[in-house]
Symmetry: C2
Amino acid sequence: MMQRARDLDAADPIAHFRDRFDLPEGVIYLDGNSLGPLPKASRERLHQVIDAEWGEGLIRSWNELPGGGGDWIAMPQRVGAKIAPLVGAKPHEVIACDSVSVNLAKLIGAALSLNPGRNVVLSEPGNFPTDLYMIQGQSQVEQRLAERDQMIDALDEDVALLLLTHVHYKTGEMFDMERLTRAAHDVGAIVLWDLSHSGGAVPVDVNGANADLAVGCGYKYLNGGPGAPAYAFVAERHHGDFSQPLTGWFGHAQPFAFSDEYEPAEGVKRLLAGTPPVLAMAALESGVELIAEIGMEALVAKSRALSEFFRECVADLDLDLVSPRDPAQRGSQLSFRHANAYALSQALIARGVIGDFRDPDILRLGFAPAYLRFVDIAEAARHLAQVLETGEWQRDEFATRAAVT
Amino acid sequence: MMQRARDLDAADPIAHFRDRFDLPEGVIYLDGNSLGPLPKASRERLHQVIDAEWGEGLIRSWNELPGGGGDWIAMPQRVGAKIAPLVGAKPHEVIACDSVSVNLAKLIGAALSLNPGRNVVLSEPGNFPTDLYMIQGQSQVEQRLAERDQMIDALDEDVALLLLTHVHYKTGEMFDMERLTRAAHDVGAIVLWDLSHSGGAVPVDVNGANADLAVGCGYKYLNGGPGAPAYAFVAERHHGDFSQPLTGWFGHAQPFAFSDEYEPAEGVKRLLAGTPPVLAMAALESGVELIAEIGMEALVAKSRALSEFFRECVADLDLDLVSPRDPAQRGSQLSFRHANAYALSQALIARGVIGDFRDPDILRLGFAPAYLRFVDIAEAARHLAQVLETGEWQRDEFATRAAVT
């Protein structure tokens, strides 16, 4: 397998992008679907923002600085415009701001504003928790949950919004965005796609699917840094009509007029609430630029090749794959069910293979294509085989749960 | 004046803390009330978080790292606990998260949950815009505005929440927190204080005043960096009862159980929504530590001395002070009304004296005590006198408004 891995690496047209990341020694990182690693350019960009823009430019950096840089005021839209082509959106349809959770509250509100008289939000049980929790927090909303195979039947004319996560965080299963969007539109519902496990890893075409709204995460496949700002998409056709409830001053048509009456800015800019987190936004911008430079087509092809190669490497092991077998039907991850998944994940981490565990019994391995090599995949598979063979996962040290699992 | 300034600096017990900041050459920075400067320790801390925690620790940094550091999961509460004593709160009553705007939405919702059956939120015209806008965004809320001298009369049993900014962003006027809180409680209203222009600059004692809720800004006097996370306070007596609408996964009692049903975490932790912005949170923590090290008593004393000294230096100029004359009645700023305030502020900036302008006619000068010297004050006053005397502010170049003013 190792020779085949080396051959695949030699033929990989985006292999050299690995050097653009700062990856720790002795680690095979299969958790880029949870937190992407540090791009070297992001370190440089952060140093520049810290020293030149915050330290030296101070308040002046809200405007463009004479020698370039600054222009903090434009960051949310500028970063959004760079994310847009990665998910099939137009540049002015995406903005970077706040967290996925906070953006969900805004877009649930936007859906209600576009669909007055309806109050049901339909989703699936087992969706990423924050998607469900944010529905539950809105007092005017009624939550309805349906299993995947009953989703279309659960759509009716009470449904204001269908809120689904495109790629399931736990299993990696992918919804057919176009089909579900069409079905929702057939009953007059708005659709909101959570792209957190999709953007930068799988083909996404929000406009091709005629989606209305979307949110996505900045710190997974976009490598924007821990807790990076999220992004939000509103289809252009809704720009004139939607409102959202978190009407902060940065979403005002003229924030620096300091008027008493809220007046929404044009388009997605009205999704802004408070002052953008400049340091975090700069790291996100740098991460997005790198993914855009590599290009989605090459990333998708390699993502599929990596995960298929892993399947090949572990074909002889007794593993219960819960992700779809067809790589076009899943995200950039493979998830395995095992009664001792937590201990397994810890035993792998002790060997330098960092994947993760999802309650109660899922071992989740992510295959971020921007920096992983096929030799990493072969090595990770070898470690997994040894962990299972030796039973070393049964050691006491791997049983104690950490605060964050 | 310059000799007096030098004497005052020589006698200043916290003068040496200036060296803990990285201030640009040739600049007198009177805008720390808008964006605080870069503490040297924050640069070091950010480098460490970028390299050791993100780059090397990766996902493992959510837990405490073996050699120390990491523990990202605890940051919002840890940073909140460090802010708490600066505003008279107990450590477990404050949490750092999101922006002031987003936290206002949460706490308006919290007030309604504590005061069912009422829906009026009372504030004042001319409050900082985002405070009013966030009221206006909540569809179930009725906004009522009253001028300062009619505020207590405007309180009645329809008022769910009195939402005021402790120190006015434009004029620097300070509300009597204790008196207004008592008046609100007399009619059964909850009180929410916006401490954005107070925390780290003036004496604040939320528990002494019996306040219910508060929010504050991280990037002004706390020097947390551009767009730093904000903080939110909920008095302990409400911890068992309040709910808030932005029910994201980080505010769940067991976020990593990934259950479908939202169950709020204990106390202020339920104010969390999405994943905390780690880089921004680290810079805020470092900024707060420095302010805490200097100590509020010394900061308040110097703040008053600096602004009084400025008043003395400009006593002979024809200036229309809109801030209260009694330093105990104002924030750490002096604001002057002038028909050409924008051009004046630009002419000062051209001389290296950075203050700011607030629409339509306010020149605002902030006196952040942690790093300003009395010689800076004397110099700034001298520049202001010259700008007025020479009329250089009338130059065309100072008339064109920048994007951010």
